[in-house]
Each structure stands twice: as C-alpha cells, then as structure tokens.
Symmetry: C2
Subunit: 261 residues, 2 copies
C-alpha cells in the first residue's frame, strides 16, 4: 500500500499489512473561522478538535492523539484559556483521543488555533473520495443546514429561543461522526466517503472530481431538520439553500451502491 497525502480528508501512511496512520490538520483563525464573542471558549475548544476528528471519521478511522498549536493575543484571559482547554479535554476524553500538547505562542492580535490529529485506520476498509461508482446513491449521516442556520442567527443577532438555540449549538458544537464512519467504512456497498465541511454542494464536487463521475442532487430530498424548517419559515430563509451550502455540518456524506440503499 502506498502513502497518500494531499487530496483526501487525511494523509494515509501504512504502518503494517493491516493498519495505516491517518493524519489531518486544521487551522481556525479568529474573525475568519469564528468570532470570539459568538462562541464560548469551551465550545470553541470542542469544535477545534471536532473538525479534525471529523476528517478521521471520513476515512473510517479511530482517533489516537491530538496536537494543538495556539497563538494567543494579549487580550485573552487565563480563564478563557482554561475553558478552551477544558473543551478540548472533554471531547478528547469522550472520544478516547490522547491530547498530547503542542505549541503555545503569542499572537499580535487574532487568536489562531491549529489542531492536528493522528488516527488509525484499517487499510482494507479505508474509504476515499475517489472511489464513487456510477449509479451510487448519495447519502448523508445527519440533517444538513442546521449549522449554517445557526451561523445566520449569530451573524444577524437574532433572538435566542429553543429553536434558534438548537441551531446555534449545532454550529458551535458540531459532533464528529466517528462511530458512523467506522460502521460505514466496514461495508463494501459504501463506495466513497467525505465529511461535510463546506456544505454538500461543495463537498460532492470533491467526490465527483476525484472519482470522475457525475452527480445529481434532488433538492427536495436533502434532509433538513424540522427546527431549521421552522426557523427558516419564520425569518423567510431559503432552508434548502442553507442545507446545500451552509457548511460546517460535519456529518458524513457517502455514496452507496444502488442495490443496497
């Protein structure tokens, strides 16, 4: 088996006949990927790790350890950092990921977070972006668009009630679909897999480009939560558009042989 790098959710480094090391890294820059006063430090810690765990999940892997680099501007309080680290630690423990440290440095103004995660995958079952087959059915492991809706609520500073709070939480505290990824990767009928980070509209392009196939998404079949539909109706949003391109869903998108759906 070959070492593969750029072009999938993780780099794949075969360790022996059966297993491979999976490596992924993600950078979050303040005011680009998050706004500091729109997310609690605990949630930001969790989310910084979750987005990487999601890449491991997309290869059907099991996370092993996480490495943080953080650039801290002078206006970040120790209490903020404590909660941020608590968020990372909480999700590390919950997912059995060792949090093995990294690099702490000063930043001139913006908070910068980089987390790298090392995971373990089974060579025979690793799913890639490039293995979709003509005729496969596209599926996702969760509703899409909740996170995009949550972001709109934060940016438009809309009032927080039960529904909007749910969407904001889906944005600020996404769950990596690790167990789903492991389960899906073991099934032969699952052909290609990717995590939904930029929205299914962008991410399906990654699959079709590397698999050299086409794709059709039936807009009325995109799974949207009742909450997103309800809030969208209230604020006159196009829920479907948010579902397609809102992004940061961090569920998994797979293509499955048509006989098995």
């Amino acid at each position: 088996e070959e070492i593969t790098g750029i072009g999938d959710d993780c780099a794949v480094i075969p360790l022996n006949e059966k297993e491979a090391l999976l490596v992924t890294t993600d950078m979050l820059i303040e005011d680009r990927h998050f706004i500091r006063n729109k997310i609690t430090p605990f949630d930001l810690g969790q989310k910084s790790l979750a987005v990487n765990l999601s890449d491991i999940a997309a290869m059907g892997g099991k996370p092993h350890s996480a490495y943080l680099s953080i650039g801290i501007p002078a206006n970040v309080e120790v209490e903020w950092l404590d909660l941020f680290f608590s968020g990372i630690n909480y999700l590390s423990l919950q997912t059995g990921t060792y949090f093995l440290g990294g690099d702490t440095t000063k930043s001139p103004d913006r908070l910068v977070i980089n987390i790298g995660v090392v995971g373990i995958g089974t060579l025979s079952t690793i799913k890639r972006r490039s293995t979709a087959q003509p005729g496969d059915i596209i599926c996702v492991t969760d509703f899409v668009g909740d996170s995009g809706g949550g972001l709109k609520i934060l940016l438009d500073e809309l009032p927080i009630d039960k529904e909007t709070a749910y969407l904001v939480n889906r944005h600020n505290c996404p769950r990596a679909n690790i167990e789903e990824g492991k389960w899906l990767s073991k099934r032969d009928e699952v052909k290609a897999m990717i995590d939904v980070s930029d929205g299914i509209e962008s991410d399906i392009h990654r699959i079709i480009e590397s698999s050299k196939v086409g794709a059709e998404i039936e807009i009325n079949k995109v799974p949207l939560s009742k909450t997103l539909l309800k809030v969208s109706e209230k604020y006159n949003w196009n829920a479907c558009e948010i579902g397609l391109s809102g992004g940061e869903d961090y569920c998994l998108m797979v293509t499955i042989h048509e006989d098995h759906v």
Copy 2:
C-alpha cells in the same frame, strides 16, 4: 513503554517493541515570528519546516512526513506562495520527509503557518530533557548566537556585507541537526538532549527543571563564531549575551557524562 506528550520536544507514541512515532507541531505568525519583507518566501518555507525537523532531531529521530496548515491573507501573491512551497519541498526532499499536505485557508490579515511533523524514533535511544545527570557536561552541536545576530541586523536594517549576510542567512535559513541528533542519541554517555530554540540560557532551564539538576554555564566557553565576534565588535554588541539568549539557533544541546567529554 508509555505514551508521553507535553513536556519534551516531541510527543512519543510507541509503535511496537522497538520504534516510536514522534510528533511535533510549530506555529509561525507574521509579525511575531517573522516579518514578511525580511525573509524570502523560499527561506520562510524552509525555516517553517526546519524548526519542526529540529524537534525531531532533538529526540534522535528520523523525520517521516510533514503537514502544513496555512492561513493566507489577500495580499499574498501566487508567486510568493509558489516560492514558499518550493522552500518546503526543497527541504523535504533534502531530508527525506514526505510533504503530505494539510489545510489551506484565508486569513483576515496576517500570514499564519503551522507545520506538524511525524517522525520515527528508536525507543531504546530516544533522549529526553529529563535525563540529565549531576556532573554531566553541557555541549552544543554548533556555534550559538549567529541567528540572534542575524535578527539584529534585519531589525536594525544594518548594511549587508559578507559577514552580516552570513548571520542573516543563519537566522532565515537554520539547519535542523538531524544527523547529529541520530548520532548523539545512539551514545549512552549522552544523557539529555534538546534543540536550542529560545537560546541556551532558556533551554538549559528546560533541561534542569525536568531533570531536577542544577547547571553552570561558563560564559567564556560559549562557542561563538568568528563572524559573530567580528560583527559584534563593529556594532558594539555583547556577543556573549547574543550567544546565550539570541535564540533560534536550532542546533542541539546535550548533557554528556563527564568521563566522555
């Protein structure tokens, strides 16, 4: 063997009876760790990788693969990026390190670079910060202070001649002491090892704190290059002070049993 994280140059993850994975990560933020118009993109690419390879060297390891996350502001040209990647590629090839990609994202203003490196170490010979013994002699693998001198030349905008160019190059294009690290790690008389990133004055503290020993540095024995001495005399610098605390030398500092020096 146990997994160890925070507190040494690399995290150490045993792979089998003999070998361990070494993992390190380092963040460089514009205007904190480098000034964009004081370093060529090619050198910055090399340096971003070299500082990580230096951490692998400090454990006596062999680098395997490198992972880049980069936050790119709008004012960075494609040509700049091409040269930056060429610098990383050049040093990757030179050191047998696979450059397996990572994360590319936009940054609101400052360039942010994070490189993580995965290496392989031999469990029985990995040297740590915590294993210095009373009576050991402190040694370094290269002159110290050249890099600190080079930084002063850049910051003070001093004229570039043969000598100052040499110091600037030592600052902008440090060499990771990988072969030295592997050689030193195989020797039983070498007790503790660390790479000199913040200057020997700071970095010896890391060894004495984790090893619970004291240390004495004889100032007149700190190895300074003729070039640093010459330039220091010209500009009335305290060369010794630069040697002790200039930092970014990226040579290795070891403690060696006194009978073997």
